[in-house]
Symmetry: C2
Subunit: 355 residues, 2 copies
């Protein structure tokens, strides 16, 4: 009469919204380098598309020498590469901005990572050829719907500058963690743009178009723009690469601990180069000590870190973590506030009580 399964304790996705589905990864409870599909964060602008695969082809058109239609089979037959890549929503940690900003109130788990297999977008564009006037490549997804700011039905589309589209690690992925890509994450094909925030990694690819001007879809020119001011659009610039960042996974914020030794644990990541160090402060940023970081030279993925702390005195403590990358970027003490709440990467902070 004792069923061991009834004692199983596991974390779940954290629901932010159901329609469209927006759920974040329980990031504090993740200890693996790759996140299982069921715990991979889900970020959707619209409800899930209804796809029929019997007649599924991806057209590549626009400013190309030879427009083509690629079948699922065509793409599977091309040389593929496998990359371990973190995807992070640019709204990750949005709920931490002060003053608060509208939008999904992501805490620290609008990010996940795992192993993606797919064909470089470059390979496809080499097949079609690109005309000289080409400036950007627009990737359109099958997900469609209405935005709150318009009555028109539109699809989720994003462009990449030619240089990023032709980067050999920008891939059309069809496997995740050695399994077929799951439907909710873009089956049969999604873009993976390593080192950029997740908005670039369009799911359920419908069409790839090479254009000679700047793409002006609303997910390119209204959303995913840093607006530094509350009341005007001065100084606006687009969201692209992931900012250097870190998250303390353990202990939990506002936890009560015993006196004695505690292992602090977390992750650090960046969209430029690789992490070179992670530092911990217990005195509001006056002094910093280096954490132990593993896989220091990894690119595209987060690196785990640990720090041994001897909590000798009963007191309340603020613990801060600060990552630095190989481009010399480091997390600021205060976030860069922007009206739509993108790219939060201030030093991570938690409070604990030792009793």
């Amino acid at each position: 009469m004792t069923d061991p399964k009834q004692h199983v304790v596991k974390p779940y996705l954290i629901t932010r919204r159901l329609n469209p589905e927006n759920q974040e990864t329980p990031i504090h409870f993740i200890q693996d380098d790759t996140i299982q599909t069921t715990l991979f964060y889900r970020r959707n602008h619209f409800s899930y598309p209804k796809l029929t695969y019997s007649n599924y082809f991806i057209p590549i058109n626009g400013l190309v020498s030879t427009p083509i239609l690629l079948s699922i089979q065509n793409i599977f037959q091309l040389p593929a590469k496998t990359l371990e890549v973190v995807l992070e929503c640019s709204g990750n940690k949005r709920s931490l901005f002060e003053p608060k900003v509208f939008g999904e109130q992501w805490e620290k788990g609008a990010m996940s990572q795992g192993v993606w297999k797919g064909v470089p977008l470059r390979t496809l564009l080499e097949i079609t050829g690109i005309k000289e006037e080409a400036k950007e490549v627009v990737i359109e997804g099958y997900d469609v719907g209405k935005r709150t700011d318009s009555d028109k039905e539109i699809s989720y589309s994003r462009s990449l500058p030619l240089e990023k589209a032709l980067h050999p690690d920008t891939i059309i992925a069809y496997e995740y963690n050695n399994q077929p890509l799951s439907f909710k994450h873009g089956f049969p094909f999604r873009l993976i743009v390593p080192s950029w925030y997740g908005m670039a990694s369009v799911k359920w690819i419908k069409q790839i178009s090479v254009i000679g001007s700047h793409f002006t879809g609303p997910f390119q020119d209204i959303d995913y723009i840093y607006y530094p001011n509350m009341d005007n659009d001065d100084g606006a610039f687009p969201v692209t690469a992931i900012n250097v960042n870190s998250t303390i996974q353990k202990p939990l914020d506002m936890a009560s601990l015993n006196t004695g030794k505690h292992e602090l644990r977390g992750i650090a990541w960046t969209g430029k180069g690789h992490i070179t160090k992670v530092e911990i402060s217990m005195d509001n940023g006056n002094t910093w000590s280096e954490a132990k970081v593993t896989h220091l030279n990894s690119v595209y993925k987060w690196v785990p870190w640990t720090f041994e702390w001897n909590a000798a005195e009963k007191d309340a403590y603020t613990i801060m973590s600060k990552a630095t990358d190989s481009y010399g970027q480091t997390q600021p003490l205060n976030p860069f506030w922007n009206r739509k709440g993108y790219g939060y990467n201030a030093v991570d902070r938690i409070k604990v009580k030792v009793e």
Copy 2:
């Protein structure tokens, strides 16, 4: 090749801690009057107990005329009653206190409700008889462990004053929503103390003892006490009945909406009497309009409410909800801050943007 299941979108428990397991109900996404077991909030002080049911008996002892041992079968044979009862953790909404307090950072979902079937504790105490010196009834659970403030292993135990122990609706429950109580919620027997915060509803009942003094276990005399001051224990008093309260379920906090009509939706509940009205304010509490409340006369359970709002003007709005009960209690504009963060019941507040 289209599997309808892959489109299914559902909420999950929201993980606050895994060891011990503390997960809250995704309360904003609940539309039913009763919450399915898998989404019922889980609040544990210790890891799950290892029970063997082959030799399971509940002793009733202490200041009773005839101490007895009750088998599972004995209890099943006694007359049972069925009650629809909300359980709310006294730490529900703790994360909203300013200044912040230590402890589980519950948002608004450390509460659930459903239909409980069980035998009144009174019935058991009528079998044993109670001596005249009896003051309190201590219910001990099988869950044991160490607290951060002590090295001793202790069990989770709570007492009830005699009057509450003998209330005909204080039951030893063994069914939830017409199913056997699940292991994680106290199988085979848990206490259900309607109208009190959840700390009183001890799970996995091990022993029931009638005592002639005030019980001084740490979950009675250290935790579950309102300490109004940061630095001393002056004015401390125990957590008992649920405060009158309400939660706005829809729209979500910090959501963007279209102009036009929107239905606001939520729940209201109280531990004293029943809800008499729920009011909504769109102007920071200057004016209030009554929401439409169903099941107004229900006791022990939350009541759903709705309010039709015509969002004519593009602007940012603060929406507030305020419940009042039949004892004339009403939600305060500001919470009663207390050091351990219990009983938060300030007017519920969200912000939305109409664009």
